[in-house]
Amino acid sequence: MDFTTALQILDSTVRLSTPLLLACLAGLFSERSGIFDIGLEGKMLMAAFISAAFAFTTGSVWLGMLAAIVASMALSALHGLASITFRGNQLISGVAINFLAAGLTVLIAQNWFGLGGRTPSLETGARFESLTLPLADSLAGVPVLGPIYAELISGHTLPVYFAFACVPATWWVLYRTRFGLRLRAVGENPAAVDTAGVSVIGMRYAAVAICGLLCGIAGAYLATALQAGFIKDMTAGRGYIALAALIFAKWRPWYALVSCLLFGFLQAVALRYQNIELGPITLPGQFMDALPYILTVVILAGFVGRAIPPRAGGEPYVKER
């Protein structure tokens, strides 16, 4: 493998990691507050459809993005209502959201555009274009660093840079602000937070809302930046891989970046090399596709470190017994 090939694979890794990273951080906020969210996939799917539909009708990618965020946050609110206010089972609510989104998107798309559950292709202006960072062209001639800057760092769409900027932002919010401290505390010991006079319900709704916001951007990225239009089930399990990445990252933002990049890298390698020859054995591409899940199982089983979820995760908060 030469330098150019490596660069191309890493470039592909960045593109494929972005939706995982956004969804993973979305899940991180939600789960750190004690609300498990299986519904990342559904929220992304709904956002992908709404962003494509609105971007196509209005011709503006930003209106599409806005509509996607609204739609995703609406599903988040539904999840919040079911699991925070009505203390329902968070996993079941999440699964319900996935099914709801899978069905609704195709139904509305068919009714709206009549193209068999897809949206028409988006034209320029209705989708994110790749950005060329300053000096990328003039620096491209510099050995090693030039191509890295011009190919790998420059030339992505805006949501990609946003997603990567979200990692330090998430770290800062979680570990350096009062809001973050309370958010983490709500996921570990909500009773203590309540005793301190902070609304557990309010904190959890805030976390779920942030989750909706990030999922909305992730979905819009899929439909208006990575692709130019919506196709049914286009998230193709990325929400679940993001969940796996979250566990792999042990619910921490910087680790989330690493695990999403790793999973994105595995996908990129599987796309580039359908079969990988390692001396006497040949690994089929499907093995690479399955590797994220295998790694998650390994982590969960405690072979490599231990992943301990937020202690109050999955349990609705009941003030008085």
Binding site: T4, T5, Q8, S12, R15, L16, L115, G116, G117, R118, S121, L222, L226, Q227, A228, G229, I231, K232, D233, M234, A236, A268, L271, R272, Q274, Q286
Partner: protein, 332 residues
């Protein structure tokens, strides 16, 4: 429960009698969906044409999951539709169990040629011959001497496409490099635009400047990415030249629309058996229209048309992937 059974029985017999009088055809689309701009859409177009010309009506269903195949077949046969037209190789197993139960109903299986069933019209297309022609065009249009092939689900049928394509390209330029990738190994591969785009970008990075997509709904993403990146692409099944005018070199036509149209037109008198249609019967070919006229030079057209005639006359024989499950010109 008994009441329910009686009711159901009554409905079924009603439907049967109604069917005997009318016998509308029915069409079962495969998982890619009616509007995949490719394989299934071709069938849809054929059926629409029949409807417009004859004023007849037909029933249709878009399968949502593999489990519905047999169910849909039985429902249409039970309701008296005749013929029942099915799309895709995956209908072979359900057909082999359903068709014997309804000897008076005629079934049409597109892309299936190996069943032992007297009441099934099995239609196979010589995709390798059509792909051979577009492979020649790709090789002539390529300036980098590297061309790409992106298949959908990794099944022998799709390898069959890729194999013909590679042979055609090598016939023009023996040194040409052909990069072949498949989108996946599950039916989801027909609808995975993100993977399709990413594979296209990968192949372009490896030097490909013409890419042939035989990937159902995923193919549109391949064509669009190719257009965005400024290289040529080749569509499949339906004429996809109009999707990105001036960017799609040609489309390998597989006249599923004609097959469906003919079957509907024949109605209950449909001839059953195995039919293989190729270049000679105009079952496959390449598309030339106002959208790609500027891309196809006279020389290119003359060469391809000559090869077409030679294949029909048997002077060129295009190896089929099915013969020994391997391709002389390409390893997958």
């Amino acid at each position: 429960m008994t009441l329910m059974k009686t009711l159901l029985g009554a409905t079924a017999s009603l439907a049967l009698t109604a069917g005997a009088a009318l016998a509308d055809p029915a069409l079962i689309f495969d998982l890619g969906g009616k509007f995949d701009k490719s394989f299934n859409e071709a069938a849809h177009n054929g059926a629409q044409r029949w409807g417009e010309e004859t004023g007849g009506s037909y029933n249709e269903i878009e399968l949502q999951s593999a489990a519905q195949r047999e169910q849909a077949l039985r429902r249409f046969a039970e309701a008296g539709f005749n013929p029942v037209i099915t799309m895709g190789f995956a209908m072979a197993d359900p057909l082999s169990s359903v068709a014997p139960d309804y000897p008076d109903t005629k079934f049409v299986a597109i892309d299936v040629t190996w069943l032992e069933a007297p009441n099934v019209r099995q239609i196979g297309f010589a995709e390798h011959e059509g792909s051979y022609l577009v492979g020649m065009m790709a090789a002539m249009a390529s300036e980098s001497d590297t061309i790409g092939f992106i298949g959908g689900m990794d099944i022998p049928l799709i390898r069959h496409f890729g194999c013909g394509y590679a042979q055609g390209a090598k016939a023009v330029n023996p040194d040409i490099e052909i990069i072949a990738n498949m989108t996946g190994t599950t039916p989801e591969a027909w609808n995975d635009p993100i993977k399709g785009s990413e594979l296209t970008v990968n192949q372009i990075a490896q030097g490909a400047d013409v890419i042939y997509a035989a990937a159902g709904g995923t193919g549109e993403a391949v064509l669009r990415t190719a257009a965005d990146e400024g290289i040529l692409s080749i569509g499949v099944d339906s004429n996809q030249n109009h999707l990105f005018p001036g960017k799609v070199l040609t489309s390998m036509l597989k006249r599923v629309d004609v097959a469906v149209y003919d079957a509907m037109k024949a109605g209950e008198d449909l001839e059953t058996g195995v039919f293989n249609i190729g270049l000679a019967e105009n079952g496959v070919g390449y598309a030339l229209d106002e959208h790609n006229a500027s891309l196809v030079s006279d020389e290119m057209k003359a060469t391809v048309d000559a090869a077409r005639q030679q294949i029909i006359d048997g002077e060129i024989s295009v190896a089929s992937y099915y013969e020994n499950d391997s391709c002389p010109a390409l390893t997958f």
